[in-house]
Amino acid sequence: MTIKIYLMVMVTLTAMSCKDTNQEKDASEPMSGEMYQEDSGKMMAENAGNNATNAIIDNYLQIKNALVADDQEAAAQAGGKLVGEFEDFDQSNYSSEEQQELTDIIEDAKEHAEHIAESAIDHQREHFDILSKDVIDMIAITGTDKKLYQDFCPMYNDNKGAQWLSATKEIKNPYFGSKMMDCGKIQKEIN
């Protein structure tokens, strides 16, 4: 039954994601409530880790917003800050297996943030693509109490497609910016 509801929601979201998405709110609420309950126990235990993750997500979203606005400078600034956030991330609350994975993710993500801090906007977007993958994988381990939308643009990178995270339901494409603002669809809702 749950799976059925989930599928129905996904289909609705996919079908409607390129249009105005206001009406869907009701449809998606049961799912997000459910997922939140499932994860909330784990969340509390990892509260400290969560704050660090939140700082990373906030900074990541700043880069995303800057790229949506075609603002190279703001993206570079947020990229520089994100490097520091990754460096400060405390992994001690995680299992050794998770730590290994987190180390790999952070090492990679930090480099992409560094590049975003000093590149032209085309390159910023390339690095943002891989950074997004890193942050998504990181959240899969750390969890977050934030409501996030995992979006997908099928056209970026020679039609290989690219993901990104957003805090708002409305599609605003960071890979094309003003050229193709509403290209993309919601892939998944986090919380």
């Binding site: 790999d104 090492e107 990679d108 480099e111 390339e126 891989i130 890193d134």
Partner: protein, 150 residues
């Protein structure tokens, strides 16, 4: 006139003096077990191209032509090599995580595609490091294959 003469001498003397400043040469006898060419099965032609065009700045071994041993060219070069190795070191390939390999391969493809690497300032002096469009195609195809195997 006197001033010009003084400045001329000053530069000449400085040029001689800076030749005695030691620099760290990027040279290593050791063959790294993690080297890109040992970890992967690279066709000889591509191996050759990558070594000639990339390894001077992206490995622990630089082949220095004579003019690169002269200051201040050597300083300029030292900086480039340090930066290049931090970005990507083919000698350490096997030690990179799969995630990082994937990132590096993607960057290699995009840098070669866009003609940003090898640097113009490098190919200006190293004609043999220049990549023809055929070379580019072959390298990109090979790297894309590696990436999909990850």
């Amino acid at each position: 006139m006197k001033v010009i003469k003084f400045i001329g001498w000053f530069f000449l003397v400085s040029l001689v003096v800076i030749q005695f400043f030691p620099i760290e040469r990027n040279q290593s006898e050791e063959v790294s077990r993690a080297d890109f060419m040992l970890v992967n099965t690279v066709p000889e032609k591509i191996q050759n191209k990558i070594q000639v065009s990339c390894y001077d700045c992206h490995s622990n071994n630089t082949e220095y032509p004579w003019y690169n041993k002269i200051q201040p060219v050597a300083w300029f070069l030292e900086d480039h090599i340090r930066e290049g190795k931090a970005e990507l070191n083919f000698n350490e390939w096997g030690d990179y995580s799969d995630r990082r390999k994937n990132s590096k391969l993607r960057s290699i493809i995009s840098q070669i595609e866009d003609g940003e690497m090898p640097l113009d300032s490098y190919t200006l002096m190293h004609g043999d490091a220049k990549l023809s469009s055929q070379d580019k195609l072959e390298i990109i195809n090979y790297i894309t294959g590696l990436k999909s195997e990850l």
